[in-house]
Amino acid sequence: MAHIEVVRRSMRPEEYTDLRFGWLKRHIYDDKTEITTFRIREARQTAEMRFEFYDENPRPLKKGDMYFTPDGTAFIEADAVIPEKYKGKEVRFALKTAAEMIVKVNGKYVGGIDPNRENIVLTPYIDSDILHFEIVAYNRSKPDDERNPESLSVRGCRQIFEGGYLAVINGAVQSLVYDMELLLNIAKSDCFNEDFRKLINTELDNALNLIDFDDINIGDVKRASEYIDEHIFQDKRYGGSGSVALVAHSHLDIAYYWRRIHAVQKNLRTVLIQMRLMDRYPDFRYAHTQAYTYETVEKYYPELFDELKEKIKSGQFEPVGAMYVEPDCNVPSAESLIRQCLYGQTYYREKFGITVDSCWLPDVFGNSWILPQILKKSGVKYFVSNKMSTWNDTNRFPHNNFIWKGIDGTEIYACVPPTHFITWNMPDQVQKNWDAFQDKETGTQTLQMFGYGDGGSGVTEEMIELMHRFDKISVMPKTKHVTAHEFLENNFNENKKLAEWDGELYLEMHRGTFTTKSEIKRYNRMLEYKFRNAEIVSVCRMIKGEADYPAEKIRDLYKKLLINQFHDILPGSHITPVYRDAVSDYAEIDRELDKIICENGNKYFNTLGFKRSSVTFIEDENGKCLRLGKKGFFTVPEIGAFGSACVTVPNGKSDWIKVGKTTETPYYSIEFADDGSIIQIYDKELKRNWIKGYFNKLHIYYDYPGTYDAWDILPNYEEKEEKLNIDEKLHLSYSDGETAAFETVLSTKKSKWKMIIRLFRRSRGIEVENRVDWNEKHRLAKVEFSPDILTRELVCDTSAGFIKREMTKNTSWQQARFEVCHHKWFDLSETGTGVSVINSGKYGVGIGENSVSLSLLRATIRPDPTSDMGHHEFTYMIFPHKDDAVSAGINNIAFEYNVPLIKADCGLDYDFGELYLEALKLSEDGQYIIARLSEQNGRRGVLSGIGEFTVTDMTEAPQYITNEYKYSPFEIITIAFCQKNRKNV
């Protein structure tokens, strides 16, 4: 006899409680009066605070009408009179919507409505019974927070208007609903005591039995609340444990599934909502990041900015996060991260009179090892970042509250909270946080952030009401609502029990973000160095009295670059219009910096602090070489440190190279394969072969990471590979007295890949230029190098020193780091010899057991179905060398490869020794010249011989005067001096 599955068809008691809870919620509104005068103008935002309208005049908007358009903003108005029956009561405006609305009544900002909240209190903000509503509403297909299941059902570009109302809430029902939200969450969560959950189920049933749901009356509701208080809240037999700090926060992506122009309103709505909650709940504190977002409030909503300043002064509204935006912390250079702090802190000091002592980066995709000293020297004591605890796909990050030791040995207090930065303050979320907290023995609290986010929104009334009830629940951890500063100061300061993490904070996920959107990465690298050149040239001209330093212009442009380093812009995890905005910004920055640099004359200025001795491409319209779309020639410029000189076109013959089965140069005998890969390189100087396996071998791998397409690369990406056809075998295409070029053309069904390999008479470097028409989907292009080097370490440039990464796969930690971020170069060396690969805008490196691969291009489809499609041109240089990377001077060679000569007759009379000049600029106060120097070879030394100077922190605040500074390995130093009269700060 077949088994018959018994399906229980009758209702369990818990389900009956849920049903009655639903009935109860229908009575939250005591009374509603529909507003019938809504008018709407549909529009689309084209720039910050600028809109193009679909219609000249507003149209009536009635309940049941369709409203909103794709990528649409709507301007909605209405007029209403408060009914007589609402006199003396707290009146609310209620409107259920998937959109995000900023609501003004009678000219005053009264609050915000969005998928997470459907009504706002009007009474405290109006002084008339006659109301005029002005609503700016932005709708999009991805609601603020997909974690809120109610918001999922209403997503879509076109919405049905469900009507707007004046309403009065039944306080007793609302209060009982909050009690039940709290208790049902506990009853349904298996992370709480089972006996207590059983008690809740029994007593909630008893409480609801006191209510006649056919005729709900206030007396019954109050009796039910009293019953719950007496039989559940006052029952202290069931103990809990733990200590959780609750910090209110809303994560705001400046661009993601929306453009930067939309973040102005998204931020304002968030700020407004939180300020209105502060009015209602005086104990409520809220932490808000990113100086840039404060700037937009100041610029576009000055009347609210004044109120915001008051709330900051009172301590309710708390600026956190010293940086200008929340940038990606893998790809930006050290100087960019310093500028994030400099411009962030300068803004906070100027506007609010405070120095923010936290770096608040809940959502960034891993954190570079160079950060601790940058933060500490920018006035930051505490670092907060969530993702390593909750996103790691392989290993559990072992700490939550700890000390992070940076590349130079700087220590900073660090918090990686155990759970997500977006929570809605449910008891089970608090309990899960405590359960996951790994540093209980340190005696510290664990940090729980609460508030909806990604697109802002933040805390709701419900979250605060629930929080106010937490103390009544005996099984919950002890909670305390605090500011971020209070949490950090109370738990970290002088805490001797904190463990230490010495190394980068690598995120074991989102490894594709080092590569996705190649053009953005290329622009970022190029502009970082162009800013450097522009500032140095501007200082030179200022010193010579030729021109004023364009401080404001440079600052504005720099801020634009920093905004585009936001952690969903630079990593490439955004929709198509965000990419267009970024490229448009980059092009504008590029043009404007060119104007500042203003190349002219016949001399070339070397902005590097050492003599250039590497082969360099010089643009020249009469040149016969074509490189990256520009004509020119190669030469070794031989221009001294910070000096300028003329460069002559070399006119030697091309008899330095012999092409046959092997190609002979002064340095090498090279055997090429038809596809541009190199079979063998014999080094004539070092008398050794360099290659053991694939070398300069292009691979197009299948790349199917899944939903997080733009973000992730899976560890099995090498399993399947696209076949590459050889359309043109490698052949000599050009030669002169300095260089010879070999070309091959490869193809897939959809893409063409021209590879040009250049050899040089006077350089060990082998440059590879790639010109690619890329039309793939779900593919990852990498170039593989398997040199004959016995090493177990990959040395990677971080932009301010190098990091050694283990290549062995013995442990899960090593296995998880199969794709890492580097900057200008990586290196494989054994005692005496090594091979470096230097790039000019690539960041991803794959670590194999016996090989490494430079990630070149991806072809992802989410969030941007058009990502990386089109033409790409990029170069890298293979550099076999004697000794290790440091002794071979690879970092300097990489600087020469990335920092262009400037056509200008300039010079600087500085000698900073072996320190790299990160930046030379006018101080933000316009009084002094600031030089930022970094030690990048892991060597200590003394800076002297430049007269007296003032050591400052990275925010340019003076520390002390000296004429000698003993620096540590990998230290970054900022000094100030006055060039004209040598007077110090």
Binding site: I575, T576, P577, D864
Partner: protein, 77 residues
Amino acid sequence: MEQYINEIIRPKIQGDGGEITFCSQKDDTVTVIMQGECSKCLILDRCIAWIESMALKDLNKKVKINAVRKKPFFWDT
């Protein structure tokens, strides 16, 4: 119509994380491919009706849009 879809409609759809690609036109029926967020939108018909109304308003052309959803592999379950 192809130009209208590509230049006028497409940027708006992309602004919501979607993608629309003109595919073909036969008489008054225009076939488009919807990708990205549009490929799984529960209320795509409303958006398509809006595109038809915009074409009528802007081009004075009455067209029927035939929208073909092309879901990425990870949503194609």
